[in-house]
């Protein structure tokens, strides 16, 4: 607000006499802008119409029955005065307002894991007039109002699907590395899908036909963000290969480990909308993934009802900025904070004198009784000093006494020092008060940030869930926190009934050490970020082969699927080194809609579709419900609904995209079915073909309607509704999902573990199987056990609680496991209950729980903990580079946040280039440095830096020439500046050469999607303020959860005169040694005497295995 020093009475007095007191020399006409135009008459065509340019509410969508034809005025209507003035455009009135006839094709966003509903608005009016498929256009992407999670809403990334679709640099046809060129040279030729399928299919065929164990380990399907539920798993599975790598170990494997220990579940699932406390560690949920947008909407609903929001984060994110309490703590010490809360909960009482522990819940639903019976474990806890003596008996009361003693050391004084919150200690009391006031209505989603940032990050979920369990908030009731698997439905890989085989492929008999190395038997997911290291580590391979394993020395076929590991994984130069080695990766192809750093080093780039260009089923636990969503290729659906027919129904998506001028863009479902049937196993001799050939016509691959009719048949209420709605259809399930895009399978799923175990007659029914009562035995803790026909021994199917037989959790006891007995048995007994080192001595002994960026390691004034893993709400890791809208917002900009106090101390100002040097705290080795822009801010905890790893894209060429093709193909022109790279096997460097604005201006007249890209001359951002920090980061494999621990210890200094923002210098030879140090100094590998590679109850994601695959005999 302007502060005026003095009011002028003359002005005020004169206000009523404007006309009298002032003489004017300026004519009005010279001042006025002149926006009015006198109009002689209204055209005769003007008419009353039903068009309403501004709907009554923001949530307006046309009703479902109008989705095949909904007429809406062109976006220029408002600029031109509306149809009231101009009439509707037609032959007689060419200057009238254009009316679009839209077909709304439902689909699903493919830009993050939240899988929000979308509708592609396909303009079909012109096509109906001309019958030329090239006149079909998707004009916009909006939400899908039928989707129960996203409710018609999307974030910036959802709406950006359009600019991704019509990206001037999207890959228009399959590309192949030019014969005679080396990987990474950037020489490409145009090829066809058929040639690619023939070459790749033959390679896979030749690999599999040897039929030995090794042949089943040489194919690797490496998936970035899957955005589908189960189809990708089926690809290696149907070939009998243990060959699936996910990106999970750089994403969320830490969080999952804690959840596996508590409940043998993959992740937790909060009921945001009904919570009284939204308890966030990091910005995840409220302003970035996971499930951002849907979660943010539900969190907003809760806050409107009075819920409080707490954000624990060293960085003031958008969520933290609007929170009731922002608590910045030293990254990696979150478990200490949670155990402080636990300490107070077990010791204090409420205003009425009642215990704060929810005894009714803890006594019935936590496996305290197992711990109290396990004298060996209790003795170990005594020997470690966790407790001073053995409990006096096995009773619940003694267990509570044990808790009191166990957590007593986590005092306020301790946690203030450990979490470095000196000066704002009072926030701890506020936090505790909010925590207690919320009762059992506390919703959280402990996911990235701390859980993936640190060695021992998994203890975040272990300790965090303890506090929830003690308050009863982990019961999965209204407003609380439940578990994931009850809130998802996965059928994308379950179209088996449509195939000749008619059933699921059998379990796989082999174990792939490249994904599941023997040092990490408990890793939550595949060790995929170590793939290049393991491939190139001859010593490691020899060691394990000598111990009796058969470790692959190469991959015959490596298939990244919409994945860019070169850029997003740590130690990118090592990835490049491995991918260039044709003896290590014999054939590689990326199923990728856009260029990426990884594609550059592959043999083929096969362009597959984006959100509205493919089929997938997906489902995510965004609320306590089972929501199913279905992606559709919008142009194909619009064509087919208007009578178009493909020549080959098994390739309809590809044909439709070619007909409509989108390019030779295909989709995985059709691609894999075709390559398997016609190339991998054309004669069926490998036993693969039958899983992909159509039951209707075994000579060809399964079609989309056949596959999804069968897949959706697994959902009874969907099946029944579809039959009613499409009584004459051959594929009613498919057609209904094609038209609606979503299905609410079940709503309001609360406390599912308390549901009675199904029993019909004398048979219990669990996990789709029947068990005769006589086969079921109950152990001393009430767990119902049956014989495990796959792995032998016993497995749980339910649990008796308080006299009732209920389904229970998926843990071995059926209860929440405060004490993880299997974890103790698998060599980590000292961490089998939630615990955290209490002093420096313990931090050295319990090193597996201590973050590699603990403040103990920060000895000099310019040493910091670098927090890299926060998401930007408008970026996807790699696919935002093909959206001009998202790139305009983000500009490839990733500055280093530094607290104003630290910046002042080091003489660093806003915009200064700083050199950030990474040093490993296990090996003591330096990784190199990156040069970045410093931004001092009060929104950053002192001692800690933040720099998101979502930016820093690069390319080595602006465009490539394709022999015989008249246009040049641009390379990531909207988001990646041009760099120069050098690497010699030991040191790699990257140096910026040209901003993307200049690069794009040289070729701004795009040859594809011209109309959509006529504004390329408006690109003003150069993208030169990001740097590829991921390449400098050494891999930090967590010894237990197996995830990469992202955070880094760094030191900073002002950049030198020759340094430029974007420069990186990496000693990747050292990085290799860092990986080895973490592996060899910290893990407890398989050893002689071990009979299994992993506990059989722990899910091996993706590919189901036999006992033979799990079995091992390690030689001395």
């Amino acid at each position: 607000m302007t502060k005026m020093n003095r009011e002028q009475p003359t002005f005020v007095e004169s206000r009523r006499s404007f006309l009298k007191g002032t003489a004017y020399t300026v004519a009005g006409a010279t001042l006025a802008t002149g926006v009015f135009k006198a109009v002689a008459e209204t055209p005769a065509e003007a008419e009353e119409t039903r068009f309403t340019a501004t709907p009554k509410t923001l949530s307006f969508y046309p009703p479902l029955e109008q989705w095949d034809s909904f007429k809406e005025l062109d976006g220029n209507d408002w600029k031109r005065g509306g149809v009231g003035r101009n009439g509707v455009q037609n032959e007689k009135n060419p200057d009238g307002i254009k009316v679009n006839e839209f077909m709304l094709v439902p689909t699903v966003c493919s830009n993050c894991e939240a899988q929000c509903g979308l509708t592609a608005w396909v303009e079909v009016g012109e096509y109906k007039r001309t019958k030329n498929p090239r006149d079909l256009r998707v004009k916009k992407y909006m939400g899908n109002p039928l989707h129960a999670g996203s409710r018609g809403r999307n974030c910036a990334k959802g709406y950006a699907s359009l600019s991704q679709m019509y990206d001037p640099d999207r890959i228009p046809f399959p590309l192949k590395r030019a014969p005679g060129s080396k990987r990474g040279e950037g020489k490409w030729i145009r090829t066809t899908w058929d040639e690619a399928m023939a070459t790749i299919g033959k390679k896979i065929h030749d690999t599999l036909k040897t039929g030995d164990e090794m042949s089943r380990k040489l194919f690797m399907y490496h998936v970035g963000r899957p955005n589908e539920n189960g189809f990708g798993h089926r690809i290696p599975h149907s070939m009998g290969c243990d060959g699936y790598d996910s990106h999970t170990n750089i994403c969320s494997a830490g969080a999952r480990q804690g959840t596996l220990q508590w409940a043998n579940d993959d992740r937790n699932s909060p009921d945001w909308a009904n919570a009284k406390l939204i308890f966030l560690q990091s910005s995840h949920a409220a302003d970035a993934g996971h499930y951002f947008q849907q979660s943010a909407g539900f969190i907003a609903d809760a806050r409107r009802k009075g819920a409080k929001l707490v954000v624990i984060d060293p960085r003031m994110s958008n969520s933290a900025g609007m929170a009731d309490l922002w608590l910045p703590i030293w990254p990696g010490t979150e478990a200490a904070l949670y155990l402080y809360l636990a300490n107070r909960i077990v010791h204090e009482k409420d205003r009425n004198g009642n215990d704060l522990i929810n005894h009714a819940f803890v006594k019935h639903w936590v496996n305290w009784d197992q711990l109290m019976k396990d004298k060996e474990q209790l003795a170990l806890m005594v020997s470690k000093g966790y407790i001073s003596k053995m409990p006096q008996d096995d009773s619940y009361e003694s267990f509570v006494e044990l808790l009191k003693e166990l957590y007593a050391p986590y005092t306020k004084e301790f946690v203030v020092k450990e979490c470095r919150i000196e000066g704002y200690e009072h926030k701890l009391d506020e936090l505790f008060e909010m925590f207690i006031d919320a009762g059992d209505k506390i919703a959280t989603f402990l996911w990235r940030s701390g859980t993936i940032g640190h060695r021992g990050g998994w203890m975040n979920t272990r300790a965090g869930f303890l506090t929830l369990a003690l308050r009863g908030a982990l019961r999965g009731d209204i407003g609380g926190t439940g578990m994931h698997h009850w809130h998802v439905v996965s059928v994308n890989g379950k179209g088996d009934a449509a195939t000749v085989a008619g059933k699921r492929p059998p379990r796989v008999d082999v174990w792939n050490e490249l994904a599941w190395p023997p040092e990490y038997p408990l890793s939550s997911y595949e060790m995929s970020f170590l793939l290049p290291h393991l491939l190139l580590d001859d010593e490691w391979r020899k060691k394990w082969n000598a111990k009796g394993l058969q470790v692959p020395e190469k991959l015959a076929v490596w298939v990244p699927r919409m994945y860019n590991p070169v850029w997003i994984n740590p130690d990118g130069f090592r990835w490049i080194e491995a991918l260039k080695r044709e003896d290590k990766v014999e054939l590689s192809f990326n199923l990728s809609p856009t260029w990426s750093e990884t594609n550059w080093f592959c043999d083929y780039v096969l362009p597959v579709g984006l959100a509205g260009e493919r089929h997938d089923q997906s489902s995510e636990p965004t609320k306590p419900a089972k929501i199913l969503a279905f992606k559709n290729p919008a142009l194909r659906v619009a064509l087919e609904k208007n009578g178009w027919k493909p020549k080959d129904p098994t390739r309809a998506t590809l044909e439709a995209h070619m007909a409509a001028g989108l390019g030779e863009i295909w989709e995985e479902v059709e691609f894999w079915a075709n390559i398997m049937v016609h190339h991998v196993d054309p004669d069926g001799s490998l036993g693969v073909r039958k899983f992909w050939a159509s039951k209707e016509d075994p000579s060809r691959a399964v079609t989309i309607p056949e596959w999804y009719q069968a897949a959706f048949d697994h959902i009874p209420n969907l099946r029944e509704a579809a039959k009613r709605k499409y009584p004459n259809s051959k594929y009613p399930n498919y057609e209904m999902m094609r038209d609606m895009g979503t299905w609410l399978v079940e709503d309001n799923i609360y406390k599912p573990q308390e549901r009675p175990l199904k029993k019909v007659g004398n048979k219990y029914i669990a996990h789709g199987h029947e068990f005769d009562e006589s086969e079921v035995e109950k152990d001393e803790f009430g767990t119902l056990l049956v014989h495990d026909h796959v792995f032998g021994g016993k497995k749980p199917i339910g649990v008796e609680v308080d006299g009732k037989i209920v389904q229970g959790w998926h843990s071995l006891s059926g209860k929440l496991e405060f004490y993880s007995k299997w974890f103790a048995e698998w060599k980590w007994p000292e961490y089998a209950v939630p615990i955290y080192p209490r002093n420096e001595k313990e931090r050295k002994e319990m090193v597996h729980l201590v973050t590699q960026v603990h403040h103990d390691f920060m000895q000099k004034e310019n040493e910091f903990a670098l927090n890299t893993i926060f998401r930007l709400p408008y970026n996807i890791h790699t696919r935002s580079v093909n959206s001009k809208h998202l790139m305009e917002i983000s500009q490839n900009h990733n500055p280093v946040w530094i607290s104003t106090a630290d910046a002042k101390r080091l003489g660093i100002k806003r915009g200064d280039a700083i050199k950030v040097t990474i040093e490993d705290t296990v090996s003591g080795l330096e990784s190199g440095y990156f040069i970045a822009m410093a931004v001092p801010t009060e929104g950053q905890m002192p001692g800690v830096l933040s720099c998101s790893h979502h930016a820093g894209r690069w390319k080595l060429k602006n465009a490539v020439e394709i022999p015989g093709f008249k246009h040049t193909l641009g390379v990531m022109g909207l988001g990646a500046p041009l760099y120069e790279m050098s690497m010699d096997g030991k040191v790699g460097t990257l140096k910026p050469k040209q901003g993307l604005d200049k690069g794009m201006q040289e070729r701004r007249d795009s040859w594809q999607f011209k109309e959509f890209n006529k504004d390329l001359d408006n690109i003003w951002w150069d993208g030169l303020s990001g740097s590829w920090q991921n390449a400098v980061a050494a891999p930090h494999p967590d010894p237990i959860a197996g995830n990469h621990a992202w955070h880094q210890k760094v030191r900073i200094e002002k950049a030198g005169p020759d340094d430029q923002i974007g420069d990186i210098w990496v000693n990747y030879e050292n990085n290799f040694k860092v990986y080895q140090a973490w592996r060899d100094k910290l893990t407890r590998p398989l050893a002689p005497g071990d009979k299994l590679r992993r506990p059989v109850h722990l899910k091996r994601p993706a590919v189901p295995l036999t006992l033979k695959a799990y079995s091992v005999d390690i030689k001395a």
């Binding site: 607000m1 004017y24 004519a27 009005g28 006025a32 926006v35 009015f36």
Partner: protein, 217 residues
């Protein structure tokens, strides 16, 4: 009726509507600032701007790029919402289609807003509504010159109605917000001037209607 006085008044009213509409419609430029600063009478209506030290210390380019146009962007593009329907619709949505209430009125008067020229999203922008008053006053001047008393009175009646039903219905709230949020004296004074002018002109239009058109009613 005193035709000459009416004519003089109307010309002055046109100037004030032109001035205020221009101020609100888009960022300032040299010509517009000259128009203010070179006319003492107009400059006098911007008392704080007149005595603003930066106005004399800084060169015009710096003044506009770093102060005035930054303030304009904040007030009219980013922070506040200068559209009638934002203030009058329950859901605070801007009615950008042809269903906009002022759009219908413009149509009825055979005026069309060239929104692209105005660089606004809807015809009920404060600058456009003020310029519409300018257009009505211009029409009134034409009627005065044609000695069409009936036309003069009809146009005065339309002006009264437009002020009553539209501008005065919401502009005061918006202008008070501008005055509060402004970071430069130009927009602070401009908001105050516009507010006082609208109130004053509404009185004037009513008084004139009473004085010269009573017998026609």
């Amino acid at each position: 009726m005193d035709t000459q006085k009416l004519k003089d008044d109307t010309q002055k009213r046109m100037t004030l509507y032109a001035l205020t509409s221009r101020l609100m419609m888009k960022e300032v430029d040299d010509a517009f600032l000259d128009a203010i600063e070179k006319d003492e009478a107009i400059l006098g209506m911007f008392p704080h701007y007149k005595t603003w030290q930066k106005r004399t210390e800084l060169d015009r380019r710096t003044l506009t790029d770093q102060y005035l146009n930054v303030d304009y962007a904040n007030l009219f593009l980013l922070h506040l919402v200068p559209y009638e329907t934002f203030y009058t619709r329950d859901d605070q949505m801007i009615e950008s289609g042809f269903g906009n209430p002022v759009s219908e009125l413009y149509d009825a008067c055979d005026f069309k807003v060239e929104l692209e020229k105005a660089r606004v999203v809807s015809p009920d922008h404060i600058g456009v509504e003020l310029e519409f008053m300018y257009m009505l006053a211009q029409a009134e001047l034409n009627a005065i010159e044609a000695e069409d008393k009936e036309g003069v009175c009809e146009l005065l009646q339309i002006q009264k109605g437009f002020l009553h039903d539209h501008l005065l219905e919401w502009a005061p709230m918006f202008l008070i917000n501008v005055k509060r949020e402004s970071a430069t004296p130009l927009y602070h004074d401009g908001a105050e001037l516009t507010l006082e002018w609208l109130l004053s002109d509404y009185e004037y239009v009513n008084e004139t209607l009473q004085a010269i058109c009573a017998e026609l009613q």
